[in-house]
């Protein structure tokens, strides 16, 4: 009897895994199949055609995504790592407890709420949608992920390593920057990369910050297109050609994100 139960439970578990893996396969196969059919050179080089016309591409959205994601990373990384250092190295008092809690809260805040927040503090005063607003929203979304990954990584560095460096006569700030951060570098980097992969696919916060743009712009105070938003608007449109383009865009976005994820896993995780 005991042995039958044993067999039964583990069969169920294996089946669950098969199920989840087949769903993944299904999704990926769909995206890839549709994407490969839809993708072409125009997609990367041309601007969208006006409504109703077939053809054209998404170069505006691709460039927009790259600009905003880069900007977001540049804003959030120094802040996040600095704050994470405070939390892990000096974080014993009331402030640290609060901040740690708030970071957790921030991580749980739906991204669309962040979008609204940025809308109220940037778009409303500027009176227009802009790339900078979009980047800011993405940066705020990135912050908690990076802070938590960094703090965790720093915390994992054994206290004795700090003390060992101190005992060699090093001042604390050098210990932190040279030894502690160095020891935690691979986890920090992988945290940052994963956060970038995540914001690259964010749609909701961009809907009313960067909005979108049919044209290729590089100035930051104008509305700017982005891949996810473009996918969304094409997907809910009634035009088949736009559906086709949406598949192509999804395909490229998913490839980019999966590549980051896989490389993080294979280059950083295996080392540990």
């Amino acid at each position: 009897m005991r042995k039958l139960i044993d067999k039964f439970v583990f069969t169920i578990c294996s089946l669950s895994t098969v199920l989840v893996l087949s769903i993944l396969a299904l999704i990926i196969i769909y995206i890839f199949a549709n994407g490969v059919l839809a993708i072409n050179l125009d997609f990367f080089t041309k601007l969208p055609k006006p409504v109703g016309e077939d053809g054209g591409g998404m170069v505006n959205a691709i460039v927009g995504s790259i600009i905003m994601v880069t900007l977001a990373a540049l804003i959030s990384i120094p802040i996040s790592i600095g704050a994470a250092i405070y939390l892990s190295e000096f974080g014993k008092g009331f402030l640290a407890t609060i901040v740690r809690f708030l970071v957790d809260v921030l991580a749980g805040v739906p991204s669309i709420v962040i979008g609204i927040f940025v809308y109220t503090i940037v778009v409303l005063p500027m009176k227009r949608f802009s790339a900078i607003a979009g980047a800011l929203a993405l940066a705020i979304i990135m912050i908690p992920t990076v802070v938590r990954a960094t703090e965790e990584a720093l915390r994992l560095v054994p206290q004795t390593l700090r003390e060992a460096a101190l005992a060699l006569g090093a001042p604390y700030w050098r210990v932190v920057l040279e030894i502690v951060v160095l020891s935690a570098r691979s986890s920090i980097i992988s945290g940052v990369l994963l956060a970038i992969a995540r914001i690259a696919g964010e749609t909701a916060p961009l809907l009313f910050t960067a909005l979108g743009n049919r044209f290729l712009v590089t100035v930051l105070d104008r509305p700017m297109a982005s891949l996810p938003v473009q996918i969304y608007s094409y997907a809910v449109s009634p035009y088949d050609d736009w559906h086709r383009q949406a598949w192509a865009a999804t395909f490229s976005l998913v490839i980019f994100i999966l590549l980051i994820n896989l490389s993080v896993r294979f280059f950083f995780r295996t080392k540990e």
């Binding site: 549709n34 704050a83 927040f117």
Partner: protein
């Protein structure tokens, strides 16, 4: 070198250290402390600003409807009547549906991964499962629209209607879109979260716990129960995190839930969530009250996720405290 050793031995060195760069001095350490602290403070301000700014920008709606905003089920921008109840309902029901589907599957996968899976395959399977979480929600939405919705409409929902239609939960008619479909999409999205965290907590249980149970004559499943018992706090934390993610998920849900502000007991009926109403109507909000009402919904969403989050924190902390003492 010997000179140096000699020099450092002279006793007054402690009291009068060598002339040193500022960078080696205690004030450099102070400056460093201050810098990182101000960054932390910035995060603090950011969250405060988030709340404050949203409250300010929903003032019209807040003052106009007060508490009734939450309990009213009328959402009629034309008549300037705004009630959030359908969205709250849609959000909660779709998320809970997702949890009910995702929890057993996630645990099954986690147990398979930690107990059964050949060692070499483990990282591969785990990576694959986690990839599900990396796929952007808009991609899920796209897939949902073009694959899942037709599939549900043509195969699953008719069966449910026939078999379980006597329950209000599965009353027709069904269009493919609706609570159940979005719940399923959400389930797929949160399975990797719950699985990853569960696997993590299961793996952090010392192998000797399992071996200790085996050594007492336990079968493998009995030993696994002991492992699960050890990992329970992490697993619960993972489940709640999954819930948080489901509550706030916007794009995928927006694309498959049907976007109809009605409360229906049936899982097969179209519905609307807080996130999707904001996503759909924000840019269409033509007058300030409308806008403010949408922002108020954002506040509501924020509060709900905040409560879930805080609950998760408390729970995890309590369990880990009990473990320590």
């Amino acid at each position: 070198m010997e000179n140096l050793q000699e020099a450092t031995k002279t006793d007054n060195l402690i009291l009068a250290p060598r002339k040193k760069r500022w960078l080696m001095s205690p004030s450099a350490d102070k400056a460093f402390h201050t810098l990182t602290k101000s960054l932390a403070l910035f995060l603090f301000t950011l969250v405060i600003a988030l709340v404050a700014s949203m409250i300010y920008n929903s003032r019209l709606s807040l003052s106009r409807f007060g508490l009734s905003f939450v309990f009213s089920s009328t959402w009629d921008p034309v008549k300037e009547l705004f009630g959030a109840l359908p969205f709250v309902y849609g959000t909660l029901v779709s998320s809970i549906t997702a949890l009910i589907i995702a929890i057993p599957i996630s645990l099954g996968v986690a147990i398979f991964l930690t107990e059964e899976c050949p060692y070499k395959l483990r990282p591969i399977v785990l990576t694959l499962v986690e990839l599900l979480a990396a796929i952007p929600s808009v991609a899920y939405g796209l897939w949902g629209i073009f694959v899942l919705v037709p599939f549900m409409r043509n195969y699953i929902n008719p069966v449910l209607e026939k078999g379980l239609g006597f329950l209000p939960l599965f009353k027709g008619p069904s269009y493919g879109i609706g609570l159940l479909t979005s719940g399923m999409i959400l389930a797929v999205m949160i399975v990797p979260i719950i699985t990853a965290i569960s696997v993590n907590s299961l793996n952090s249980v010392l192998p000797s716990q399992r071996e200790a149970a085996l050594a007492l004559g336990a079968t493998r499943w009995e030993a696994t129960q002991i492992v699960l018992l050890n990992a329970r706090s992490g697993i619960i934390g993972g489940i709640i995190l999954g819930l948080g993610r489901a509550l706030g998920e916007t794009m995928a849900v927006t694309m498959v839930i049907g976007n109809r502000p009605e409360i229906s007991l049936s899982l097969l009926a179209p519905s609307y969530t807080m996130a999707s109403v904001i996503a759909n109507e924000f840019t269409e909000a033509t007058y300030d009250l409308y806008l403010h009402a949408l922002i108020e919904i954002a506040i509501l969403l924020f509060i709900i996720t905040f409560i879930v989050q805080a609950f998760a924190q408390l729970l995890i902390r309590q369990i880990s405290k009990g473990k320590k003492s």
